[in-house]
Amino acid sequence: MPAPSKGSFAPAIQTFELTKTYGANRGIRNVSLTVERGEIFGFLGPNGAGKSTTLRTLLGFLKPTSGRAEVLGLDVLAHSVEIHRRLGNLPSEFSLEDRMTGFELIRFHTRLRRSGTESLKRARDLAERLDANLEMPMRRLSRGNKQKIGIIQALFHEPELIVLDEPTNGLDPLMQDVFLLILQEARDRGQTVFFSSHVLSEVERVADRVGIIREGELVAVDDPNALTRRAFRYVRIQFEGPLDSGIVQEIASLPGVDRFERHGTTLTFTIGGSMHELLQLATQRCVISFDAERPPLEELFLSYYEDDSE
Protein backbone atom coordinates (compact mmCIF):
# COMPACT_ATOMS: atom_id res chain seq x y z
CA MET A 1 0.00 0.00 0.00
CA PRO A 2 1.31 3.50 -0.79
CA ALA A 3 2.83 5.50 2.03
CA PRO A 4 0.40 7.81 3.80
CA SER A 5 0.24 11.14 2.02
CA LYS A 6 -1.66 14.37 2.05
CA GLY A 7 -4.81 14.19 4.16
CA SER A 8 -3.67 10.98 5.91
CA PHE A 9 -5.43 11.79 9.16
CA ALA A 10 -8.71 12.84 7.63
CA PRO A 11 -11.56 10.33 7.29
CA ALA A 12 -11.50 8.27 4.11
CA ILE A 13 -14.78 9.85 3.01
CA GLN A 14 -16.68 12.79 4.42
CA THR A 15 -19.72 14.46 2.91
CA PHE A 16 -21.40 17.61 4.10
CA GLU A 17 -25.08 18.03 3.18
CA LEU A 18 -24.23 16.61 -0.23
CA THR A 19 -27.00 17.13 -2.74
CA LYS A 20 -27.19 16.21 -6.39
CA THR A 21 -30.43 16.60 -8.30
CA TYR A 22 -31.17 15.83 -11.93
CA GLY A 23 -34.88 16.38 -12.01
CA ALA A 24 -37.82 16.51 -9.70
CA ASN A 25 -37.49 13.10 -8.03
CA ARG A 26 -34.00 11.84 -8.63
CA GLY A 27 -30.60 12.22 -7.03
CA ILE A 28 -29.50 12.58 -3.41
CA ARG A 29 -30.45 15.12 -0.77
CA ASN A 30 -28.39 16.41 2.15
CA VAL A 31 -26.28 13.29 2.55
CA SER A 32 -23.84 13.76 5.44
CA LEU A 33 -21.65 10.75 5.89
CA THR A 34 -18.27 9.84 7.35
CA VAL A 35 -16.32 6.72 6.46
CA GLU A 36 -13.32 6.14 8.69
CA ARG A 37 -9.97 4.82 7.56
CA GLY A 38 -9.54 1.08 7.60
CA GLU A 39 -13.20 0.10 7.73
CA ILE A 40 -15.50 -1.67 5.34
CA PHE A 41 -18.54 0.51 4.85
CA GLY A 42 -21.59 -1.01 3.19
CA PHE A 43 -23.91 1.39 1.42
CA LEU A 44 -27.33 -0.14 1.14
CA GLY A 45 -30.38 0.74 -0.83
CA PRO A 46 -32.57 -0.59 -3.60
CA ASN A 47 -32.07 0.35 -7.22
CA GLY A 48 -32.69 4.04 -7.78
CA ALA A 49 -32.22 5.00 -4.11
CA GLY A 50 -29.16 7.15 -4.89
CA LYS A 51 -26.24 4.80 -4.20
CA SER A 52 -24.57 5.25 -7.57
CA THR A 53 -25.22 8.99 -7.55
CA THR A 54 -23.47 9.26 -4.19
CA LEU A 55 -20.49 7.22 -5.39
CA ARG A 56 -20.22 9.10 -8.69
CA THR A 57 -20.30 12.43 -6.86
CA LEU A 58 -17.53 11.20 -4.53
CA LEU A 59 -15.47 10.27 -7.59
CA GLY A 60 -15.94 13.72 -9.11
CA PHE A 61 -17.90 12.40 -12.08
CA LEU A 62 -20.97 14.36 -11.01
CA LYS A 63 -20.79 17.88 -9.64
CA PRO A 64 -22.81 18.46 -6.47
CA THR A 65 -25.85 20.71 -6.73
CA SER A 66 -25.03 21.82 -3.18
CA GLY A 67 -22.95 20.65 -0.25
CA ARG A 68 -19.48 19.21 -0.63
CA ALA A 69 -17.48 16.07 -0.25
CA GLU A 70 -13.95 15.15 0.72
CA VAL A 71 -12.19 11.92 -0.09
CA LEU A 72 -8.93 11.13 1.74
CA GLY A 73 -9.07 14.67 3.08
CA LEU A 74 -9.20 16.24 -0.38
CA ASP A 75 -12.05 18.11 -2.02
CA VAL A 76 -13.55 15.85 -4.69
CA LEU A 77 -13.80 18.58 -7.31
CA ALA A 78 -10.53 20.40 -6.75
CA HIS A 79 -8.35 17.28 -6.35
CA SER A 80 -10.09 14.56 -8.34
CA VAL A 81 -6.92 13.42 -10.13
CA GLU A 82 -4.94 13.07 -6.88
CA ILE A 83 -7.90 11.25 -5.31
CA HIS A 84 -8.11 8.84 -8.26
CA ARG A 85 -4.40 8.11 -7.89
CA ARG A 86 -5.07 6.87 -4.37
CA LEU A 87 -8.28 4.92 -4.91
CA GLY A 88 -9.56 1.97 -6.89
CA ASN A 89 -12.95 2.22 -8.52
CA LEU A 90 -15.42 -0.31 -9.87
CA PRO A 91 -18.46 1.27 -11.57
CA SER A 92 -21.81 -0.54 -11.46
CA GLU A 93 -22.32 -0.45 -15.21
CA PHE A 94 -19.30 -0.50 -17.44
CA SER A 95 -18.09 -1.89 -20.71
CA LEU A 96 -14.55 -2.76 -21.59
CA GLU A 97 -12.48 -2.35 -24.72
CA ASP A 98 -13.70 -5.35 -26.70
CA ARG A 99 -10.48 -6.14 -28.51
CA MET A 100 -8.26 -6.02 -25.45
CA THR A 101 -7.59 -8.87 -23.11
CA GLY A 102 -7.95 -8.40 -19.38
CA PHE A 103 -4.19 -8.35 -19.02
CA GLU A 104 -3.83 -5.61 -21.64
CA LEU A 105 -6.40 -3.51 -19.78
CA ILE A 106 -4.60 -4.01 -16.47
CA ARG A 107 -1.25 -3.20 -18.11
CA PHE A 108 -2.75 -0.01 -19.55
CA HIS A 109 -4.01 0.97 -16.10
CA THR A 110 -0.58 0.14 -14.67
CA ARG A 111 0.96 2.60 -17.11
CA LEU A 112 -1.58 5.28 -16.23
CA ARG A 113 -0.90 4.74 -12.54
CA ARG A 114 2.82 4.04 -12.87
CA SER A 115 2.17 1.30 -10.38
CA GLY A 116 4.99 -0.98 -11.53
CA THR A 117 5.45 -4.67 -12.15
CA GLU A 118 4.62 -5.60 -8.55
CA SER A 119 1.03 -4.54 -9.15
CA LEU A 120 0.90 -6.68 -12.30
CA LYS A 121 1.91 -9.65 -10.18
CA ARG A 122 -0.88 -8.80 -7.73
CA ALA A 123 -3.32 -8.64 -10.67
CA ARG A 124 -2.28 -12.16 -11.68
CA ASP A 125 -2.71 -13.35 -8.08
CA LEU A 126 -6.18 -11.81 -7.88
CA ALA A 127 -7.09 -13.35 -11.23
CA GLU A 128 -6.05 -16.75 -9.94
CA ARG A 129 -8.13 -16.39 -6.79
CA LEU A 130 -11.17 -15.14 -8.69
CA ASP A 131 -10.66 -17.66 -11.48
CA ALA A 132 -10.57 -14.81 -14.02
CA ASN A 133 -9.24 -15.23 -17.54
CA LEU A 134 -6.82 -12.39 -18.27
CA GLU A 135 -5.75 -13.71 -21.67
CA MET A 136 -9.06 -13.84 -23.52
CA PRO A 137 -10.35 -10.82 -25.52
CA MET A 138 -13.00 -9.15 -23.43
CA ARG A 139 -15.68 -9.35 -26.11
CA ARG A 140 -15.66 -13.11 -25.50
CA LEU A 141 -16.06 -12.89 -21.73
CA SER A 142 -19.35 -13.47 -19.91
CA ARG A 143 -20.88 -10.77 -17.67
CA GLY A 144 -19.46 -12.43 -14.58
CA ASN A 145 -15.98 -12.73 -16.04
CA LYS A 146 -15.99 -9.09 -17.12
CA GLN A 147 -17.01 -8.20 -13.57
CA LYS A 148 -13.96 -10.07 -12.30
CA ILE A 149 -11.70 -8.01 -14.59
CA GLY A 150 -13.42 -4.89 -13.23
CA ILE A 151 -12.76 -6.01 -9.66
CA ILE A 152 -9.10 -6.77 -10.41
CA GLN A 153 -8.50 -3.35 -11.97
CA ALA A 154 -10.00 -1.73 -8.87
CA LEU A 155 -7.81 -3.67 -6.44
CA PHE A 156 -4.53 -4.59 -8.16
CA HIS A 157 -2.64 -1.44 -7.16
CA GLU A 158 -3.62 -1.76 -3.48
CA PRO A 159 -5.20 1.70 -3.18
CA GLU A 160 -5.84 3.46 0.11
CA LEU A 161 -9.55 3.57 -0.67
CA ILE A 162 -11.57 1.05 -2.68
CA VAL A 163 -14.91 2.29 -4.04
CA LEU A 164 -17.11 -0.44 -5.46
CA ASP A 165 -20.59 -0.03 -6.92
CA GLU A 166 -22.58 -3.27 -6.73
CA PRO A 167 -19.38 -5.36 -6.95
CA THR A 168 -20.91 -8.83 -6.71
CA ASN A 169 -23.19 -8.35 -9.73
CA GLY A 170 -22.75 -11.34 -11.99
CA LEU A 171 -20.51 -13.29 -9.61
CA ASP A 172 -21.54 -16.80 -8.68
CA PRO A 173 -21.94 -17.55 -4.92
CA LEU A 174 -18.54 -19.23 -4.67
CA MET A 175 -16.80 -16.22 -6.21
CA GLN A 176 -18.82 -13.89 -3.99
CA ASP A 177 -17.29 -15.67 -0.99
CA VAL A 178 -13.79 -15.30 -2.41
CA PHE A 179 -14.42 -11.66 -3.22
CA LEU A 180 -15.73 -10.84 0.26
CA LEU A 181 -12.68 -12.54 1.75
CA ILE A 182 -10.43 -10.38 -0.45
CA LEU A 183 -12.23 -7.28 0.87
CA GLN A 184 -11.67 -8.39 4.46
CA GLU A 185 -7.98 -8.93 3.75
CA ALA A 186 -7.78 -5.45 2.24
CA ARG A 187 -9.36 -4.02 5.38
CA ASP A 188 -6.91 -5.97 7.53
CA ARG A 189 -4.03 -4.38 5.59
CA GLY A 190 -5.43 -0.95 6.48
CA GLN A 191 -7.25 -0.18 3.25
CA THR A 192 -10.71 1.37 3.38
CA VAL A 193 -13.58 -0.20 1.44
CA PHE A 194 -16.74 1.67 0.51
CA PHE A 195 -19.14 -0.50 -1.42
CA SER A 196 -22.74 -0.23 -2.43
CA SER A 197 -25.11 -3.12 -2.62
CA HIS A 198 -28.73 -4.09 -2.57
CA VAL A 199 -27.82 -7.59 -1.38
CA LEU A 200 -27.96 -7.15 2.34
CA SER A 201 -26.58 -10.51 3.40
CA GLU A 202 -23.17 -9.77 1.83
CA VAL A 203 -22.99 -6.41 3.55
CA GLU A 204 -23.93 -7.98 6.85
CA ARG A 205 -21.11 -10.50 6.43
CA VAL A 206 -18.23 -8.07 5.89
CA ALA A 207 -19.24 -4.51 6.68
CA ASP A 208 -18.04 -2.80 9.85
CA ARG A 209 -20.68 -0.15 9.38
CA VAL A 210 -23.71 0.18 7.21
CA GLY A 211 -25.41 3.19 5.69
CA ILE A 212 -28.95 2.89 4.40
CA ILE A 213 -30.12 5.25 1.69
CA ARG A 214 -33.72 5.68 0.73
CA GLU A 215 -35.06 7.88 -2.04
CA GLY A 216 -31.89 9.94 -2.00
CA GLU A 217 -31.73 10.42 1.75
CA LEU A 218 -29.41 8.69 4.20
CA VAL A 219 -31.81 7.20 6.75
CA ALA A 220 -29.40 5.31 9.03
CA VAL A 221 -25.70 4.72 9.65
CA ASP A 222 -24.55 2.16 12.18
CA ASP A 223 -22.71 -1.10 12.50
CA PRO A 224 -24.78 -4.05 11.30
CA ASN A 225 -25.08 -5.50 14.81
CA ALA A 226 -26.21 -2.22 16.36
CA LEU A 227 -28.79 -1.81 13.66
CA THR A 228 -30.26 -5.19 14.41
CA ARG A 229 -29.99 -4.65 18.17
CA ARG A 230 -31.85 -1.43 17.84
CA ALA A 231 -34.54 -3.12 15.86
CA PHE A 232 -37.21 -5.64 16.82
CA ARG A 233 -36.65 -9.28 17.66
CA TYR A 234 -38.70 -12.34 16.98
CA VAL A 235 -39.70 -13.84 20.34
CA ARG A 236 -41.09 -17.31 20.97
CA ILE A 237 -41.93 -18.35 24.56
CA GLN A 238 -43.20 -21.78 25.51
CA PHE A 239 -44.73 -22.06 29.00
CA GLU A 240 -45.38 -25.12 31.08
CA GLY A 241 -49.01 -25.81 31.86
CA PRO A 242 -52.10 -23.80 30.97
CA LEU A 243 -51.82 -20.06 30.61
CA ASP A 244 -54.32 -17.70 32.17
CA SER A 245 -55.57 -14.91 29.97
CA GLY A 246 -54.21 -12.29 32.37
CA ILE A 247 -50.54 -12.92 31.62
CA VAL A 248 -51.26 -13.34 27.95
CA GLN A 249 -53.00 -9.98 27.90
CA GLU A 250 -50.19 -8.32 29.88
CA ILE A 251 -47.53 -9.53 27.46
CA ALA A 252 -49.59 -8.62 24.40
CA SER A 253 -50.01 -5.08 25.70
CA LEU A 254 -46.33 -4.47 26.47
CA PRO A 255 -44.85 -1.47 24.63
CA GLY A 256 -43.23 -2.51 21.33
CA VAL A 257 -45.04 -5.85 21.05
CA ASP A 258 -46.48 -6.61 17.62
CA ARG A 259 -47.67 -9.55 15.50
CA PHE A 260 -48.80 -11.30 18.68
CA GLU A 261 -50.06 -14.88 18.35
CA ARG A 262 -50.96 -17.58 20.86
CA HIS A 263 -50.80 -21.29 20.06
CA GLY A 264 -51.78 -23.20 23.20
CA THR A 265 -48.98 -22.59 25.71
CA THR A 266 -46.71 -20.95 23.14
CA LEU A 267 -46.65 -17.24 22.44
CA THR A 268 -44.95 -15.73 19.36
CA PHE A 269 -44.57 -12.03 18.68
CA THR A 270 -42.10 -9.33 17.77
CA ILE A 271 -40.83 -6.80 20.27
CA GLY A 272 -38.91 -3.60 19.79
CA GLY A 273 -36.84 -1.79 22.40
CA SER A 274 -36.07 -3.15 25.87
CA MET A 275 -37.03 -6.69 26.86
CA HIS A 276 -36.73 -5.98 30.58
CA GLU A 277 -40.48 -5.92 31.30
CA LEU A 278 -41.09 -8.94 29.12
CA LEU A 279 -38.53 -11.00 31.01
CA GLN A 280 -39.98 -9.91 34.35
CA LEU A 281 -43.47 -10.98 33.27
CA ALA A 282 -42.42 -14.22 31.62
CA THR A 283 -40.36 -15.44 34.54
CA GLN A 284 -43.43 -15.22 36.80
CA ARG A 285 -44.46 -18.48 35.09
CA CYS A 286 -42.52 -21.63 34.36
CA VAL A 287 -40.82 -21.08 31.00
CA ILE A 288 -39.81 -24.18 29.01
CA SER A 289 -38.09 -22.30 26.22
CA PHE A 290 -37.40 -18.70 25.32
CA ASP A 291 -36.10 -17.72 21.86
CA ALA A 292 -35.35 -14.17 20.79
CA GLU A 293 -33.97 -13.93 17.28
CA ARG A 294 -32.55 -10.90 15.58
CA PRO A 295 -34.18 -10.23 12.22
CA PRO A 296 -32.03 -10.70 9.17
CA LEU A 297 -30.75 -7.40 7.82
CA GLU A 298 -33.08 -7.78 4.86
CA GLU A 299 -36.12 -7.42 7.09
CA LEU A 300 -34.56 -4.62 9.03
CA PHE A 301 -33.88 -2.86 5.78
CA LEU A 302 -37.50 -3.23 4.76
CA SER A 303 -38.61 -1.92 8.12
CA TYR A 304 -36.86 1.36 7.43
CA TYR A 305 -38.97 1.71 4.34
CA GLU A 306 -42.20 0.70 6.02
CA ASP A 307 -41.59 3.07 8.94
CA ASP A 308 -41.01 5.92 6.62
CA SER A 309 -43.94 5.23 4.35
CA GLU A 310 -46.22 5.10 7.38
Partner: protein, 270 residues
Protein backbone atom coordinates in the same frame (compact mmCIF):
# COMPACT_ATOMS: atom_id res chain seq x y z
CA UNK B 1 5.99 18.93 -20.75
CA UNK B 2 6.68 18.51 -17.08
CA UNK B 3 4.05 20.70 -15.54
CA UNK B 4 2.05 19.30 -12.69
CA UNK B 5 -1.71 19.01 -12.48
CA UNK B 6 -2.72 19.27 -8.83
CA UNK B 7 0.26 17.27 -7.69
CA UNK B 8 0.22 14.68 -10.48
CA UNK B 9 2.79 14.83 -13.25
CA UNK B 10 0.88 15.59 -16.44
CA UNK B 11 3.41 13.57 -18.38
CA UNK B 12 2.50 10.50 -16.42
CA UNK B 13 -0.86 9.86 -18.09
CA UNK B 14 -0.80 11.80 -21.37
CA UNK B 15 1.71 9.54 -23.09
CA UNK B 16 0.24 6.17 -21.95
CA UNK B 17 -3.23 7.33 -22.97
CA UNK B 18 -2.02 8.66 -26.33
CA UNK B 19 -0.09 5.46 -26.97
CA UNK B 20 -3.20 3.46 -26.11
CA UNK B 21 -5.24 5.52 -28.57
CA UNK B 22 -2.65 4.98 -31.32
CA UNK B 23 -3.05 1.26 -30.84
CA UNK B 24 -6.84 1.44 -30.67
CA UNK B 25 -7.09 3.24 -34.04
CA UNK B 26 -4.22 1.57 -35.88
CA UNK B 27 -6.57 -0.83 -37.65
CA UNK B 28 -8.81 2.08 -38.76
CA UNK B 29 -5.80 3.95 -40.11
CA UNK B 30 -4.62 0.89 -42.04
CA UNK B 31 -8.06 0.38 -43.61
CA UNK B 32 -8.23 4.05 -44.60
CA UNK B 33 -4.72 3.82 -46.05
CA UNK B 34 -5.68 0.83 -48.18
CA UNK B 35 -8.92 2.44 -49.34
CA UNK B 36 -7.34 5.78 -50.17
CA UNK B 37 -4.43 4.12 -51.98
CA UNK B 38 -6.80 2.19 -54.21
CA UNK B 39 -9.12 5.14 -54.82
CA UNK B 40 -6.43 7.76 -55.47
CA UNK B 41 -4.52 5.33 -57.70
CA UNK B 42 -7.67 4.65 -59.74
CA UNK B 43 -8.48 8.36 -60.16
CA UNK B 44 -4.99 9.03 -61.55
CA UNK B 45 -5.17 5.89 -63.68
CA UNK B 46 -8.44 6.91 -65.37
CA UNK B 47 -7.15 10.40 -66.13
CA UNK B 48 -5.79 9.58 -69.66
CA UNK B 49 -9.22 8.38 -70.82
CA UNK B 50 -11.04 11.30 -69.15
CA UNK B 51 -8.74 13.97 -70.56
CA UNK B 52 -9.70 13.00 -74.10
CA UNK B 53 -13.38 12.40 -73.45
CA UNK B 54 -14.38 15.67 -71.75
CA UNK B 55 -14.57 18.97 -73.57
CA UNK B 56 -14.48 21.52 -70.76
CA UNK B 57 -15.58 24.30 -73.11
CA UNK B 58 -19.06 22.76 -72.86
CA UNK B 59 -19.15 23.38 -69.10
CA UNK B 60 -20.56 26.80 -68.11
CA UNK B 61 -17.88 29.21 -66.97
CA UNK B 62 -19.23 29.76 -63.45
CA UNK B 63 -19.38 26.00 -62.91
CA UNK B 64 -15.79 25.74 -64.07
CA UNK B 65 -14.82 28.42 -61.60
CA UNK B 66 -16.80 26.79 -58.78
CA UNK B 67 -15.11 23.42 -59.22
CA UNK B 68 -11.65 24.66 -60.29
CA UNK B 69 -12.08 23.13 -63.76
CA UNK B 70 -9.43 24.91 -65.81
CA UNK B 71 -7.63 22.58 -68.07
CA UNK B 72 -8.11 18.83 -68.30
CA UNK B 73 -5.07 18.51 -70.54
CA UNK B 74 -3.03 18.84 -67.34
CA UNK B 75 -3.20 16.09 -64.69
CA UNK B 76 -2.68 18.65 -61.89
CA UNK B 77 -5.68 20.64 -63.08
CA UNK B 78 -7.82 17.51 -63.34
CA UNK B 79 -6.85 16.42 -59.82
CA UNK B 80 -7.50 19.92 -58.51
CA UNK B 81 -11.12 19.74 -59.64
CA UNK B 82 -11.75 16.06 -58.90
CA UNK B 83 -9.70 14.31 -56.24
CA UNK B 84 -8.44 17.33 -54.30
CA UNK B 85 -11.42 19.57 -55.17
CA UNK B 86 -14.40 17.39 -54.31
CA UNK B 87 -13.76 13.86 -53.12
CA UNK B 88 -11.00 14.20 -50.53
CA UNK B 89 -12.22 17.47 -48.92
CA UNK B 90 -15.58 15.76 -48.41
CA UNK B 91 -14.32 12.27 -47.52
CA UNK B 92 -11.14 12.64 -45.49
CA UNK B 93 -12.69 14.76 -42.66
CA UNK B 94 -14.70 11.68 -41.72
CA UNK B 95 -11.61 9.89 -40.46
CA UNK B 96 -11.28 12.43 -37.65
CA UNK B 97 -15.01 12.96 -37.18
CA UNK B 98 -15.69 9.24 -36.64
CA UNK B 99 -12.91 8.84 -34.08
CA UNK B 100 -13.24 12.12 -32.21
CA UNK B 101 -17.03 12.02 -31.89
CA UNK B 102 -16.41 8.91 -29.80
CA UNK B 103 -14.01 10.41 -27.27
CA UNK B 104 -16.60 11.69 -24.79
CA UNK B 105 -20.18 11.21 -26.03
CA UNK B 106 -19.50 7.81 -27.60
CA UNK B 107 -17.45 6.54 -24.67
CA UNK B 108 -20.07 7.76 -22.19
CA UNK B 109 -22.86 6.17 -24.19
CA UNK B 110 -21.06 2.81 -24.13
CA UNK B 111 -20.19 3.09 -20.42
CA UNK B 112 -16.43 3.31 -20.92
CA UNK B 113 -15.63 6.62 -19.27
CA UNK B 114 -16.09 5.68 -15.62
CA UNK B 115 -13.44 3.02 -15.53
CA UNK B 116 -10.95 5.10 -17.52
CA UNK B 117 -11.48 8.25 -15.47
CA UNK B 118 -11.22 6.23 -12.27
CA UNK B 119 -7.51 6.37 -13.04
CA UNK B 120 -5.48 9.49 -12.21
CA UNK B 121 -5.92 10.95 -15.67
CA UNK B 122 -6.97 14.58 -16.09
CA UNK B 123 -9.90 14.91 -18.46
CA UNK B 124 -7.90 17.29 -20.64
CA UNK B 125 -5.54 14.42 -21.45
CA UNK B 126 -8.36 12.52 -23.13
CA UNK B 127 -9.03 15.53 -25.32
CA UNK B 128 -5.42 16.37 -26.15
CA UNK B 129 -4.29 12.74 -26.52
CA UNK B 130 -7.16 11.77 -28.83
CA UNK B 131 -6.70 14.85 -30.97
CA UNK B 132 -2.95 14.27 -31.23
CA UNK B 133 -3.56 10.70 -32.40
CA UNK B 134 -6.01 11.80 -35.08
CA UNK B 135 -3.72 14.65 -36.18
CA UNK B 136 -0.82 12.22 -36.58
CA UNK B 137 -2.84 9.64 -38.48
CA UNK B 138 -4.27 12.37 -40.75
CA UNK B 139 -0.77 13.59 -41.48
CA UNK B 140 0.20 10.03 -42.35
CA UNK B 141 -2.86 9.60 -44.58
CA UNK B 142 -2.08 12.88 -46.34
CA UNK B 143 1.47 11.65 -46.94
CA UNK B 144 0.14 8.37 -48.35
CA UNK B 145 -2.21 10.23 -50.69
CA UNK B 146 0.59 12.50 -51.95
CA UNK B 147 2.99 9.63 -52.55
CA UNK B 148 0.40 7.33 -54.21
CA UNK B 149 -0.78 10.04 -56.59
CA UNK B 150 2.78 10.90 -57.57
CA UNK B 151 3.87 7.26 -58.01
CA UNK B 152 0.85 6.27 -60.14
CA UNK B 153 1.25 9.41 -62.27
CA UNK B 154 4.91 8.57 -62.87
CA UNK B 155 4.16 4.92 -63.63
CA UNK B 156 1.76 6.14 -66.34
CA UNK B 157 4.25 8.74 -67.61
CA UNK B 158 1.93 11.58 -66.67
CA UNK B 159 3.34 14.97 -65.88
CA UNK B 160 3.11 15.69 -62.17
CA UNK B 161 5.83 16.99 -59.88
CA UNK B 162 6.24 15.37 -56.45
CA UNK B 163 5.93 18.78 -54.76
CA UNK B 164 2.56 19.38 -56.46
CA UNK B 165 1.16 16.11 -55.28
CA UNK B 166 2.56 16.44 -51.75
CA UNK B 167 1.43 20.03 -51.19
CA UNK B 168 -2.07 19.17 -52.45
CA UNK B 169 -2.23 16.28 -50.00
CA UNK B 170 -0.82 18.19 -47.03
CA UNK B 171 -3.19 21.11 -47.66
CA UNK B 172 -5.95 18.69 -46.63
CA UNK B 173 -4.47 18.35 -43.15
CA UNK B 174 -5.63 21.69 -41.61
CA UNK B 175 -9.06 21.24 -43.21
CA UNK B 176 -9.58 17.74 -41.83
CA UNK B 177 -8.20 18.76 -38.43
CA UNK B 178 -10.76 21.56 -38.18
CA UNK B 179 -13.68 19.18 -38.76
CA UNK B 180 -12.18 16.65 -36.36
CA UNK B 181 -11.88 19.37 -33.72
CA UNK B 182 -15.52 20.28 -34.31
CA UNK B 183 -16.51 16.64 -33.70
CA UNK B 184 -14.44 16.62 -30.50
CA UNK B 185 -16.13 19.80 -29.29
CA UNK B 186 -19.57 18.35 -30.06
CA UNK B 187 -18.64 15.12 -28.30
CA UNK B 188 -17.71 17.10 -25.18
CA UNK B 189 -21.02 18.93 -25.10
CA UNK B 190 -23.73 16.48 -26.16
CA UNK B 191 -24.56 13.07 -24.69
CA UNK B 192 -25.52 11.21 -27.88
CA UNK B 193 -22.74 10.00 -30.13
CA UNK B 194 -25.11 10.16 -33.13
CA UNK B 195 -25.38 13.93 -32.62
CA UNK B 196 -21.63 14.35 -32.12
CA UNK B 197 -21.12 12.46 -35.38
CA UNK B 198 -24.07 13.82 -37.36
CA UNK B 199 -23.63 17.54 -36.79
CA UNK B 200 -19.99 17.76 -37.98
CA UNK B 201 -20.85 15.47 -40.90
CA UNK B 202 -23.63 17.82 -41.94
CA UNK B 203 -21.34 20.82 -41.43
CA UNK B 204 -18.77 19.30 -43.84
CA UNK B 205 -21.34 19.19 -46.64
CA UNK B 206 -22.94 22.50 -45.68
CA UNK B 207 -19.61 24.33 -45.71
CA UNK B 208 -18.67 22.75 -49.00
CA UNK B 209 -21.98 23.90 -50.44
CA UNK B 210 -21.53 27.42 -49.07
CA UNK B 211 -18.12 27.64 -50.70
CA UNK B 212 -19.46 26.42 -54.05
CA UNK B 213 -22.46 28.76 -53.93
CA UNK B 214 -20.14 31.65 -53.10
CA UNK B 215 -18.10 30.83 -56.19
CA UNK B 216 -21.17 30.35 -58.40
CA UNK B 217 -22.83 33.60 -57.39
CA UNK B 218 -20.40 36.52 -57.02
CA UNK B 219 -23.14 38.56 -55.29
CA UNK B 220 -22.98 36.23 -52.28
CA UNK B 221 -19.28 35.43 -52.46
CA UNK B 222 -18.86 36.92 -48.97
CA UNK B 223 -20.48 33.85 -47.42
CA UNK B 224 -17.45 31.81 -48.45
CA UNK B 225 -15.59 33.20 -45.46
CA UNK B 226 -17.89 31.10 -43.29
CA UNK B 227 -16.72 27.94 -44.99
CA UNK B 228 -13.66 25.96 -43.92
CA UNK B 229 -13.33 24.82 -47.54
CA UNK B 230 -12.67 28.42 -48.58
CA UNK B 231 -9.45 28.40 -46.51
CA UNK B 232 -8.35 25.11 -48.04
CA UNK B 233 -7.51 26.67 -51.42
CA UNK B 234 -6.18 24.88 -54.53
CA UNK B 235 -2.74 23.80 -53.45
CA UNK B 236 -1.91 21.47 -56.34
CA UNK B 237 -1.95 24.26 -58.90
CA UNK B 238 -1.38 27.39 -56.80
CA UNK B 239 0.58 26.14 -53.81
CA UNK B 240 -0.50 25.99 -50.19
CA UNK B 241 -2.41 29.09 -49.04
CA UNK B 242 -0.57 29.52 -45.76
CA UNK B 243 -2.88 32.20 -44.38
CA UNK B 244 -5.89 29.98 -45.02
CA UNK B 245 -4.14 27.02 -43.42
CA UNK B 246 -3.35 29.19 -40.39
CA UNK B 247 -7.02 30.17 -40.04
CA UNK B 248 -7.99 26.48 -40.03
CA UNK B 249 -5.29 25.58 -37.50
CA UNK B 250 -6.29 28.43 -35.18
CA UNK B 251 -9.94 27.37 -35.47
CA UNK B 252 -8.91 23.79 -34.64
CA UNK B 253 -6.96 24.91 -31.59
CA UNK B 254 -9.91 27.02 -30.41
CA UNK B 255 -12.32 24.09 -30.80
CA UNK B 256 -9.98 21.70 -28.96
CA UNK B 257 -9.63 24.22 -26.12
CA UNK B 258 -13.40 24.57 -26.00
CA UNK B 259 -13.73 20.77 -25.91
CA UNK B 260 -11.32 20.52 -22.95
CA UNK B 261 -13.16 23.21 -20.98
CA UNK B 262 -16.60 21.76 -21.75
CA UNK B 263 -15.53 18.22 -20.83
CA UNK B 264 -14.01 19.44 -17.58
CA UNK B 265 -17.28 21.08 -16.61
CA UNK B 266 -19.73 18.39 -17.56
CA UNK B 267 -21.21 15.59 -15.49
CA UNK B 268 -20.37 12.07 -16.58
CA UNK B 269 -23.18 9.58 -16.39
CA UNK B 270 -21.44 6.32 -17.33
Amino acid sequence: MRASFRGVSTRSTLWPYTRFQYGAHRKNAILWTIGLTIYCGLIVAIYPSVSDAIDISLIPENLRAAFNINDFTQLASFLSSELFGVILPLLLPFFGIIILSNVVAGAEERGRLDMLLGNPIPRVHLIVGSFAVVATYLLMLAGVIGVVVWIVANLLDLELAARQSMRAAFALWPLTLAFGALALAMSSVVRQRAVALGVPAAVVFLMYLINVIGKLAPSVSGVRFMSAHHYYGTAITEGIWWAGALVLLVASAALVTFAAVAFNRRDIYA
